[in-house]
Symmetry: C2
Subunit: 488 residues, 2 copies
């Protein structure tokens, strides 16, 4: 049987034109060329290769620590959800039922009730919460789960939108509305820190409109990032669920003052999509540019020699240096003799390794190395081998800051304020921008703008005070300014 | 709708009698009472609660480090496997097809080809290996995956046998038979270290008989542990796959000397079943006894006071001590005033916390604490608060060794050598033992013994030299001694 794996992650080239199509091809080339992921024989699913998975592990480690430091505990709930559970919250089932994968047979028999492969775990987790919560003393419950989820997607793109993906989902229950609201913000703040301090991607935090809200939530908060083509990427969401699920699943507690009350809840998640954000938020024509704090390999050493007699002493010194760096830096010595140095330069540049050390016979003699920066292409020649670990450590910090600043600058250059619909449409025809504009809060205007321009309201930023203006489309008075953009 | 979650993990009480039934009830009480796991609304699936999951995370961390230190890399492959893939290796499909959960619908439509929820990932991983391997230079491939898998089980028991479980699965491909054989042993050695040095459970390493072999393997190696009821538990397996899957999935490489050859392979896995092994390998009538190196909480502090004026200064000192211990010890201060100290003693004993500090007003005045050991029940009174972290660190090491030694001793006392079939049957009627006996290598004898006694051949130990004897059942000359036991 001939299986063409490439058929199974359907890229959307055919409908894309010009720059978009070019960008899509670039993205796919980077994902496969940098060996982050590969096409799989299963429709819409990808294989995360070791280099991509190591990046995911580093993201996980950073976030998991924050999740634990803020008092949450990890747990694990079943992959399968009885179909009837999904039907308990009306908006939730409407949002997710069309995307579900259904198990109808198990152990050679047809099941009495089909099982849904979790698209998200609110329903099954809240069923358990109902069992665990009796009194206010049982609250809050602060749970997180690292898991795989499945959403049947028609158009997929590796990391950004796949049928199966890996994520974490936080689920919490509280005695008061205030506490749940605060929790939703705590979660969002973790995501902001993850994006800005680890991924080196500036994000705008704020609320989503009703049209973009999680199915079953009262309010959805998000972090929104700009990619290097000027498009927006929703990188993480946190939901204030009110009492919707508590009522559907009967999560009630004895209040301190007596009487039964429904719990107030939140849920929040980020996924392997973050890897897509790193690729598109920093990458350039040569490939990936990885933030040093998350890079699986922070420094790669490329030995350079021609004659056989050079090889031994160059390699020996490279091994010494690698051993010296190892305690503080994730270092890799590429000592393959099946590839040329030039090939290796391209290879590790495509893989986005922040720093490369070139070491040849003359460097060995002079006790120096040449350092190449991936982000700027800059080369530092004649850097002493003494104190190299400290020097590289500083450089890695510099790069972490530099690529963040570069992204801030890029977003600034691609953000505009517009108060006239013709200009608005013209600007979006011209290219991709974050457009700050007033909006009247009507879903109709929002939908019309999307139809006219393909731009959606990405976020109502938290830190914008109400200010008078007119809806960009209908001209109605509005105190709400929002960010419009085309999005992934 | 009323869902009784307890219906969904079907315990096997009804067929068990006497001690076995008692033991089963004890097991379930410990799992739920210690809050390791809970019944779920999904048939055969459990919810791993935070305390159980923290134990799993500690196991994962220890093993993951060993996996990486031996040169393996983590990756992630799709949850779903096309049904046709499973059919490619004859023995493999025969072994797994009856246990599979099948997805027939996705995104509201019937699928062209049903998808199997992975019961293990040999098929899909080997499909990818075929793509990645061209030359001997691409070998070895050393991959590991942490994932959930699903096997439709009729009789389930939390952690020991559930429809969905968490595990790691190593999959490797090599250029030579010798290298693959060596790899299978390297993996088994990691499992032995995990069991003995982390879980404090002595294990016997060796080979399984053909009847107990992994479906598709040439040889299956295992670590076999004795539980505290004298039954055996298979705690981990490593398989030398030969070229079976390489031939089925066409994993061929250009050999250094030219010509195409099929790769030699291994696979190996341990699962959340290890938590069941810890429960049953160490626990007593009071509940869990956790090995200190894996315990989510190593030391619990219980403040003891009666009067309100005592409370403040006892709690203050407890907080001080907790803060001092925190950098080196996983410590938890149980400062709830909704529970009595006596309740807390029982609670933390059931949860298997290795050490408890009791601190009352007089201890505060005298600058001492009382330490209670979970494994022996021993109490150390008047231990100085100065240098407490070092003292507790030493005690934790002592306990780690003590419970290992206790398990070694217990296994010794419950192991016998027998060379007569009547004695063999009588011994197994009397209780649970590891019986060392000769076996003629016939599957017929093996099956007959199982039918007569319920005992199976657990392992042909590596470290037993061939020695002459007669098959315990048929009397045929045999040089192979094996271990028989009833097993979980």
């Amino acid at each position: 049987m001939e299986v063409k794996d490439t058929d199974n992650v359907q890229e959307t080239f055919e409908e894309e034109k010009g720059k978009d199509a070019e960008r899509s091809r670039w993205y796919t080339d980077v994902v496969t060329g940098a060996e982050l992921a590969d096409y799989s024989p299963v429709k819409g699913c990808m294989v995360i290769r070791p280099y991509g998975y190591a990046l995911w592990e580093n993201l996980q480690r950073a976030l998991d620590q924050m999740i634990k430091d803020t008092g949450h505990q990890n747990a694990y709930f079943p992959l399968f959800i009885p179909e009837s559970f999904l039907n308990k919250e009306k908006q939730h089932v409407e949002g997710f039922a069309p995307e579900c994968a259904i198990v109808t047979h198990g152990g050679g028999k047809k099941l009495d009730e089909p099982l849904v492969v979790r698209p998200t775990s609110e329903t099954i987790i809240n069923h358990m919460f109902a069992k665990w919560v009796q009194s206010w003393r049982d609250l809050p419950i602060l749970i997180n789960q690292w898991a795989n989820v499945v959403r049947w997607e028609m158009r997929t793109r590796m990391f950004l939108r796949t049928t199966e993906f890996l994520w974490q989902e936080g689920h919490t229950a509280h005695a008061t509305e205030e506490e749940a609201e605060k929790e939703a913000r705590v979660a969002l703040e973790m995501y902001r820190v993850l994006a800005e301090e680890w991924m080196a991607l500036p994000v705008i935090t704020g609320e989503k409109t009703e049209a973009e809200r999680f199915a079953g939530a009262v309010r959805t908060y998000c972090i929104e990032a700009m990619m290097r083509d000027g498009k927006a990427l929703q990188a993480g969401t946190s939901h204030f669920l009110g009492q919707n699920f508590a009522k559907a699943f009967d999560i009630q507690f004895q209040a301190p003052e007596g009487g039964l009350e429904h719990a107030w809840q939140t849920s929040w998640g980020v996924s392997t999509r973050l890897i897509g954000a790193i690729i598109m938020g920093h990458g350039d024509e040569k490939g990936l540019i990885l933030p040093p704090k998350l890079a699986p390999i922070q420094v790669v050493i490329v030995p350079i020699y021609k004659k056989e007699e050079e090889k031994a002493r160059v390699l020996e010194r490279c091994r010494q240096i690698a051993a010296e760096l190892k305690p503080t830096i994730r270092v890799f010595l590429d000592d393959r003799d099946t590839q040329t140095p030039g090939w290796k330069f391209n290879h590790w540049e495509q893989k986005g390794v922040p720093l490369r050390l070139n070491i040849g016979p003359r460097d060995v003699d002079s006790n120096v190395v040449e350092i190449a920066r991936r982000d700027t292409g800059e080369k530092l020649r004649g850097v002493s081998q003494d104190g190299l670990a400290a020097e590289l450590g500083k450089l890695l910090e510099t790069i972490q800051k530099a690529i963040f600043e570069r992204a801030v600058q890029f977003r600034k250059e691609h953000s505009v304020t517009i108060d006239n619909y013709d200009d608005f449409c013209a600007k979006l025809d011209e290219g991709n921008y974050f457009i700050e504009a007033h909006w009247c809060k009507s879903g109709q205007c929002e939908a019309q703008i999307k139809q006219d321009t393909k731009a959606t309201i990405r976020v109502i930023p938290f830190d914008w005070k109400p200010q008078p203006g007119k809806c960009i489309r209908c001209g109605t008075a509005s105190d709400t300014k929002v960010i419009f953009a085309k999005a992934y």
